[in-house]
Symmetry: C2
Subunit: 307 residues, 2 copies
Amino acid sequence: MITVLAGGVGAARFLQGLVKIIPEEEITVIVNTGDDIQLHGLHISPDLDIVTYTLTGIVDEEKGWGINQDTFHCLEMLKRYGHETWFNLGDKDFATHIYRTYLLKQGLSLSEITNRICQALGLRLQIIPMTNDKFETRIVTEEGILHFQEYLVKRHTKDNVINVLFEGSEEAKPALGVIDSILNASLIIVSPSNPIVSIGTILSVNSVRDALRKTKAKVVATTPIVGGAPIKGPADKLMKGLGLEVSAYSVARLYQDFLDVFILDYADRNEKERIEQLGLQVIVTNTIMKTQEDKVKLAKTVLKLIK
Amino acid sequence: MITVLAGGVGAARFLQGLVKIIPEEEITVIVNTGDDIQLHGLHISPDLDIVTYTLTGIVDEEKGWGINQDTFHCLEMLKRYGHETWFNLGDKDFATHIYRTYLLKQGLSLSEITNRICQALGLRLQIIPMTNDKFETRIVTEEGILHFQEYLVKRHTKDNVINVLFEGSEEAKPALGVIDSILNASLIIVSPSNPIVSIGTILSVNSVRDALRKTKAKVVATTPIVGGAPIKGPADKLMKGLGLEVSAYSVARLYQDFLDVFILDYADRNEKERIEQLGLQVIVTNTIMKTQEDKVKLAKTVLKLIK
């Protein structure tokens, strides 16, 4: 059994490779929900959706979010009613949020709902939200405290970051299966996702970090930073805002207490030694996933660790 | 000030003519909400929407409901999630239900929400739901008790009707403005809508029928039955189910206690005398509204009563 800690696009791409080489049934994915947001009275879970849409093959590959060939008529009409529409939602995508909100209102947990969505879409891997409890990533900027989506999507990461808050992290319990899947895995993979707001959130949920330290499984992380910059997203701005060096090494340090292996990109091979000095095994390879072949190759490199 | 009691399509068509000859600001429309239904966790008010969409000029004229050139991607996706999709909802249409549900959750009344929708769509007439309280039209059939929309849309009116129930009518209070607009109107028009499940529902709301009896304004009804059949909808089946004759006369009798004038179709001119014997003034004219000209002509005929 393989357990993967996941954010959005980066994780989804990595998983596309992974499902090509091992059966879906052997994979558990723990997904960040710190980006979840209520809009138009609906509960939106961006990272869960990116992962399920991508693995189902219905994601809009160009955008990296939403469903391919979707229309935006519902949102246009909501705009006419005066709603803010900075967060783009397609018509098919709306169905997911309507469905999720409908079931939440009926008392189902986000875990159970995610399960149903996976089943409906024909996915056989287990996708678990990191927590079923309220958890909200907030970015402290010079302009005030923003919901992560406001910072990212509405204001295009233009604000200087002072701090990152995980609201609810103290009370948030890991969803059923999170701790078990970490303790009982044969390999744990930390996706090339944002180390602060995708992986950092998961790590901040009660007992998760402890379980990662305790597990007998090897824990391997794929770098989300290549050549001093993230492949996608605002990891650099957030790391800088927190006073961290923007480098693969810096990410390795964030995971150091539970990590065994770090997958470093060729571009950063000069950081290999520094990372090894943290007590980690380092594998240098191509980590940039442009083609399906890239994704499968990276997954194979990671899986070699248990073969 | 003119007050109109309205159901869906028939009323909306009549109103299209009316707004061409008097300023929108002088019109109050009291709309049936007995057909309202919760689907996908959203509050749907079919008659309110038909009226607002029609007057805004965005209705799908061919279907008589929904918004023109709408797509159905959200509903298709909800089907994939296992939701029943017998009630057709377009993507733009979904926005209205999302918006309404969002505001209901915030504690606004259906009246206030309807007001906001009208404003957003640029309508200047006052559209009021008959009640802000729970009210549900249920059709008692040989197969069991059905929500009106189940009877009409899901089961295509195929069940034998035994009775019609107005659940909640005993507690339902008229929405703010309903009684005032009846007592203070200079003319009250009962639309050519279903006399049982569109007008009958409005009449069953507390104090409405009394106000119609008390008002000094003339009350005029346009026949919804022409040549022994409704123009649209299941009025004949419902009337038969309740043991009523399906005729213009029969409708006039249902309204007899508060009505002054009945607008009869040429096709039923032989019923004129019978209706006059109920103590009503009868005007015989063309009531079938196919063209915009038909609608304006009918509205003019009705308005002559106050000129």
